[in-house]
């Protein structure tokens, strides 16, 4: 970000020393960040990013820093994630992306909440029934982290609109609920050169893999899904209880963070299949 005359001095003046683990940080509070954003006509994200660039830590991120570091936090704030689906997995994934401090979250989902969503969808509550998933998620995300820019698409992701949504995106989160839609997303991500983190659930089981452009990914699933018009899996019979989508989203967002930061080992080229009922934990080479 370009220099903003006076901002660094104001941030430095507001910063207070804080010991966290073995490190000492100069931290600025949410109130200070918000006040300075107003004073300088900036978004809080810009103030937070500027602070991080200058070695000052917005207090809201202090518990992230021991793991991802100041530069990692700055990078997340500059990152853009496309979240396709804001239901059971997507609602929790959205919240985790916001709490990690991913700066721009683009959400696509055409649905509105109904009673069948109350068991598992993060932002679905009695008062939200009938509201758009995307709107409910966006409003809650801004309460959680005002640094986040939420871009809303109240439409179903499809081959004709995905290229636009994927422009300038750093990672795509697959929180869809049908096999053919996932294959469409994989193809669009591959065409756009975007890494896609896939997760799917059924009952107490989940699967996750991280697909880079050109990887086989979901295309090797059995039987050839698209050719047989198979759009859903065994979740039609098992349903989706409250716990599984949360765990799926946790794993998915951690994969996305690793992709964004270029750290750790991702699930590229392999799929984790996990069943919480009996602790099946299977890595499949793709």
């Amino acid at each position: 970000m370009d220099d903003v005359p006076g901002l660094l001095e104001s941030l430095t003046q507001a910063a207070a020393e804080r010991e966290e683990g073995c490190e000492r940080y100069r931290c600025v509070t949410l109130d200070d960040v918000s006040a300075l954003a107003t004073r300088y006509g900036l978004a809080t994200r810009q103030v937070s990013a500027f602070a991080l660039e200058h070695g000052l830590l917005p207090l809201r991120y202090v518990k992230n820093i021991g793991t991802i570091g100041m530069s990692g936090q700055a990078r997340l704030l500059q990152s853009r994630a496309l979240l396709v689906g804001a239901g059971g997995i997507g609602g929790t994934a959205a919240e985790l992306l916001a709490r990690m401090g991913v700066g721009t979250i683009i959400i696509a989902d055409p649905d509105v909440y109904d009673e069948t969503n109350l068991n598992r969808q993060n932002f679905c509550c009695s008062s939200a029934l009938g509201l758009s998933n995307v709107d409910a998620a966006a409003e809650r995300l801004l309460e959680i982290n005002c640094d986040v820019d939420v871009i809303r698409h109240r439409i179903a992701a499809a081959s004709e609109n995905l290229p636009g949504m994927l422009a300038s995106v750093d990672v795509a989160i697959d929180a869809l609920d049908s096999i053919d839609d996932r294959l469409t997303l994989q193809q669009a991500c591959s065409d756009a050169g975007v890494v896609m983190v896939h997760v799917a659930i059924a009952g107490t089981a989940l699967q996750v893999t991280t697909i880079y452009p050109g990887d086989a990914g979901l295309k090797g699933m059995l039987p050839p899904a698209a050719a047989e018009g198979k759009t859903q899996g065994i979740e039609v019979e098992t349903g989706n209880p409250a716990t599984t989508p949360v765990l799926a989203a946790v794993i998915q967002v951690q994969e996305a963070v690793k992709v964004l930061l270029g750290t750790g080992n991702t699930l590229r080229g392999k799929m984790l299949y996990l069943d919480l009922e009996d602790w099946t934990f299977e890595f499949i080479s793709l």
Partner: protein
């Protein structure tokens, strides 16, 4: 040939006849492929997302060899 099979818990009561354990040993004719194994287990194709032979995802026409470990993973797509 003898093969070791692991079937995901979620698929046990979808097999015909139903299975009661996730790990079993089976004797199959030489040359059996993935599709043949699914037939023998009485599992409908639509319920199966991946079959691995020795941990590697394999297509329907992949041949299974004596001593292989075969895992049957369901098709799941919920969100």
């Amino acid at each position: 040939m003898n093969i070791e099979i692991k079937v995901a818990t979620i698929l046990l009561d979808k097999a015909n006849p139903k299975l009661h354990t996730t790990s079993l040993d089976m004797t199959m004719p030489d040359g059996t492929d993935v599709a043949g194994l699914l037939d023998a287990l009485g599992l409908e194709d639509r319920l199966v997302g991946s079959v691995t032979i020795n941990k590697r995802r394999s297509p329907m026409d992949a041949a299974i060899a004596d001593g292989d470990l075969v895992a049957v993973i369901p098709a799941i797509s919920g969100g």
